[in-house]
């Protein structure tokens, strides 16, 4: 027995409980892999029964096995090329007829099959009595009823799997396709003239698919048959002859016969006593999809999702952040110690690296809650309802009903995160809408954009804070919708579309286990795929920000300032009892002591802890302690004042060095180089540098502005400094800057997510560059246009909002390309 024989696959229609079966059989031993070339997840697990280890592949849920969707292609290719030793066909027992439609197609592919009738309890509750033995005789395969939620029937299923997997299958039933049978037979005869083909593919299946003009089947023929053209022409002629004779296409006929056979089999094996009662799910939908209540409930669900994950999750990070801070402290302690003004490169790098990773890891509590809530929405069956309610609105802009959730996560109002938003685009079945959604999500207001908005609104729109915040929160949607439409009509116009047709499955109560497993799997994916790449990119950004560094001349200048400050300090303590105690070379000891004491005092909770702390520091070094805590001691007060001055000088020199290093860095030079262009958008080079440094993470835009506007010895807030330091920086420029931030390129983590979900590096690059160009264009329009018309920031804001609203409405009215039959 080869390893292939011990490989089993789970196949079934969506909503049949397949993932419950998969979890029940494999337990914790699962991992996610990829099918080549598509973004469909491949779940692989394993289990051991009676000493046989079986590898179980969870194939995507599909209603059929055509080549029209990636899921169906993946499933079909797997069955054809991997040839698993056994396929467990999971079927929803309460919907037997439609599920058998897939079963017949699986049988046609000549794979060893077991039919697992899952959710047998639901079928019973609906008044369906299923005779499994009779069903098994009719189909020619083992039939195992289960209720996997309670574990009922699991043992028998395992027995059947390990029993069947070891031996060859018996005779299975085949559908009599009636009128088309003679065409199939003739084509099979033609195909069997090529023996290599018969070894690789089930010929009857291939013949039917060729009559249906299935693209992938035609490709298989071209690859495996020397005279493929002749055979294709033959199949095409047969197809035309059938259509002329019977007035329908082969695929219509075949599907009809399959349903007929399914109905026959179901009727013979299922005793139905119709209870004549409206299903509970439909009664819920009477409320959830109600014209007035539906949208209200949707808003409520969205608000709850936002509140629990973003707001409460953020609170949770207050508890997890200290853990990450401890990691930083550890790195700080291990890295080479800082000098008076020389910060060793390794130390700077280690801290930068930890900060970059911590910024991402900090989101994990939020993500865990978010992914858990999404799993609840998915498992409960609410997602299709969400799509049902929103589809009309979103489809006007080239999006899909199922774009609702990603857009909510991305920050439809204010405060989302593009990473989980992009990752949740996976479920959108329509390729074109999925790409459109992925590409517009970075335009929504993620949490990291907010600090810059708040900063600028507080300075330049202080009189109209509420209004300005409303403007910036909603303008992002007025960008996202028309841009999605434009992308749909241009770069995405040739992408594959899929009909909307969607099942509205019955509501289910999600299981705790199912939700936790899903949430954990997604958090793990985030950790594994995204954090590792962000770490690599952090290294690159570090280099761009640090090098080439300061010239020897400038360093000498700073050293001169340091010497002055130190000399002033030494002179000041001359004549006190500390004079002999503190050597110039060991000043850092005092600096370290001082910092540690201040840090420790901050975290001391109560008076007792504070007293204990003071004793500890006094015991460590009584002289230093006197300088730090002089009390009434005159000499100590003098030293304390002198040291405070020294400490301030040191910080100023460090800050000036950091600023100069940044200005001199590759990124800083770039910021200065592009000033002639960005001037029209109202950005000076300082703003440019801040925006460029924000490429790694947007949060840093405010921090960089802070460093750039640092003025020596001033205790002013950044708001005051910016307002004073930039006479030319007006409310109009601030508006342009905010609009640029709305359209700011996605952060590194998001671009990785875009690559994973779009399956291509090209789309990733596109998602980085189009917002940048668009943002610059919009900012230039607002700033230069506003200047030309003599508008101030507030007037320009109203004018631009009106324009954006008009464009959005107009774009909604343009027709999408009509559905072709």
């Amino acid at each position: 027995m080869t390893s292939k024989d011990r490989q089993a696959a789970l196949a079934g229609q969506p909503n049949c409980g397949k993932s419950t079966v998969f979890n029940a059989l494999t337990g914790a031993s699962q991992h996610v892999a990829n099918y080549p070339g598509v973004t469909v997840d491949k779940l692989v697990g394993s289990f051991r029964h009676n000493g046989t280890k079986v590898e179980l592949v969870d194939l995507p849920g599909t209603y059929s096995l055509t080549s029209y969707s990636p899921e169906e292609r993946v499933t079909r290719d797997f069955l054809l090329h991997e040839k698993p030793g056994l396929v467990i066909n999971v079927a929803d027992a309460s919907n037997l007829q439609r599920n058998l439609y897939l079963t017949f197609q699986l049988l046609e592919m000549d794979v060893p099959l077991i039919l697992n009738l899952n959710m047998i309890d639901v079928a019973k509750a609906r008044g369906h009595e299923i005779d499994a033995e009779k069903l098994s005789r009719r189909l020619g395969v083992p039939v195992l009823p289960t209720n996997m939620k309670s574990g009922q029937g699991k043992k028998e299923l395992l027995e059947a799997v390990s029993g069947t997997i070891a031996r060859a299958e018996g005779r299975t039933s085949r559908i009599d396709y009636g009128d088309i049978e003679s065409f199939i037979r003739e084509l099979v005869d033609v195909l069997s003239a090529e023996p290599a083909l018969a070894d690789r593919y089930p010929l009857r299946w291939l013949a039917i698919k060729l009559l249906e003009e299935d693209r992938e089947a035609q490709r298989l023929l071209v690859d495996g048959h020397p005279e493929a053209d002749r055979v294709l022409a033959d199949a095409s002629a047969k197809r035309k002859a059938f259509e002329a004779a019977y007035g329908k296409t082969p695929e219509q006929h075949v599907a009809g016969r399959r349903y007929q056979a399914a109905a026959d089999v179901a009727a013979s094996a299922v005793g139905r006593s119709d209870l004549g009662k409206r299903p509970f799910s439909d009664r819920i939908d009477g409320i959830v999809c109600n014209r007035y209540l539906g949208p209200l409930i949707l808003v409520g669900v969205v608000y709850l999702l936002y509140y629990l994950s973003i707001v409460q999750g953020y609170n949770l990070t207050n508890y997890t952040w200290p853990l990450l801070a401890r990691l930083r402290t550890l790195v700080e302690a291990l890295a080479p110690a800082p000098g008076f003004i020389e910060i060793p490169l390794i130390r700077a790098f280690a801290l930068w690296f930890v900060d970059s990773i911590n910024a991402l890891l900090n989101y994990i509590p939020i993500f865990f809650i978010l992914f858990g809530l999404i799993a609840i929405l998915e498992d409960s069956g609410y997602m299709p309802r969400m799509a049902f309610i929103m589809d009309r609105l979103l489809s006007r802009y080239g999006l899909h009903g199922q774009s609702t959730l990603p857009m909510v996560l991305g920050g439809v109002y204010v405060g989302g995160c593009a990473v989980p938003a992009v990752m949740s685009c996976k479920g959108i079945p329509d390729e074109r809408s999925r790409l459109a959604t992925i590409l517009i999500i970075p335009l929504l207001n993620c949490l990291a954009k907010v600090p810059l908005y708040v900063l600028l609104i507080n300075i330049y729109f202080a009189q109209h804070k509420g209004l300005a915040m409303f403007f910036i929160s909603t303008i992002s949607l007025l960008f996202a919708l028309p841009i999605s439409k434009i992308l749909t009509l241009t770069v995405l116009k040739d992408k594959e579309t899929t009909p909307f047709i969607m099942e509205m499955p019955p509501y289910h109560l999600p299981t705790v286990r199912g939700v936790l497993v899903k949430a954990w799997r997604r958090v793990w994916l985030f950790l594994k795929k995204i954090t590792t790449i962000v770490a690599a990119v952090a290294v690159v950004i570090f280099v761009l920000l640090q090098f080439p560094g300061l010239s020897a001349e400038r360093l000498a200048d700073y050293n001169g300032r340091k010497d002055q400050a130190v000399a002033a300090f030494m002179a000041a303590i001359q004549g006190t009892r500390f004079a002999g105690r503190i050597q110039e070379d060991h000043l850092m000891d005092l600096v370290g002591y001082w910092d540690e004491y201040k840090d420790a005092k901050m975290t001391a909770g109560n008076q007792a802890a504070l007293d204990e702390l003071k004793q500890r520091f006094e015991a460590r070094d009584p002289d230093f302690y006197r300088i730090v805590q002089p009390g009434g001691d005159q000499e100590a007060q003098k030293a304390n004042r002198a040291f405070k001055k020294l400490d301030r000088s040191r910080r100023e020199i460090l800050m000036a060095m950091r600023q100069e290093r940044l200005n001199q860095s590759f990124l800083g030079r770039l910021g200065q180089a592009i000033e002639p262009v960005t001037r029209f958008a109202g950005f000076n080079w300082r703003v440019n540098v801040a925006l460029l440094s924000a490429l790694a993470a947007k949060e840093s835009s405010v921090a960089t502005l802070g460093a750039l506007y640092q003025q020596e010895g001033s205790g002013q807030s950044l708001e005051q400094r910016m307002a004073e330091g930039e006479k030319g920086f007006s409310s109009l420029a601030a508006l342009a800057l905010m609009l640029f931030m709305v359209l700011y390129p996605p952060c590194v983590a998001t671009t990785i997510a875009v690559k994973l979900q779009s399956g291509s590096a090209r789309w990733m690059l596109f998602s980085m560059f189009y917002p940048m160009i668009l943002g610059l264009a919009v900012a230039t329009l607002v700033y230069s246009g506003g200047l030309a018309l003599g508008l101030d920031g507030r007037q320009a804001m109203y004018a631009f909002y009106g324009l954006a609203l008009a464009v959005t409405v107009a774009m909604g009215l343009i027709k999408n390309r009509a559905q072709t039959a």
Binding site: Y63, S64, T66, Y68, S94, N95, Q97, R98, Y101, R126, T249, E251, Q252, A255, G256, Y259, S281, D282, D285, G286, C289, N290, R291, Y292, G294, P295, P384, F388, I389, D391, R392, L393, S395, G401, T498, P499, F500, I501, M502, E503, M504, P505, A818, Q819, T820, A821
Partner: protein, 74 residues
């Protein structure tokens, strides 16, 4: 008449599918094929899409897709 013209609450039998290729196949794969009886359950809050009841399960589709399903009212 076609499926998109029916009002919620009405029942119909499918007579013919005018769609081919992807849409036609998808309709059939979801269990929408000639001869079958269905009921219009409701329209979405913004009219589109609509929801229908097939043989024991519910499916929603857009009106522009329902145009291709020819039905007779029962």
């Amino acid at each position: 008449m076609t499926l998109d013209q029916l009002k919620p609450g009405s029942q119909a039998r499918i007579v013919h599918l005018a769609a081919r290729d992807k849409l036609g196949q998808r309709l059939m794969d979801m269990g929408i094929y000639p001869g079958l009886r269905l009921e219009i359950v409701r329209n979405a809050p913004l009219e589109d899409p609509l929801e229908i009841l097939l043989d024991g399960y519910y499916v929603s589709l857009r009106h522009e897709e329902a145009r291709f399903v020819e039905v007779e009212r029962l």
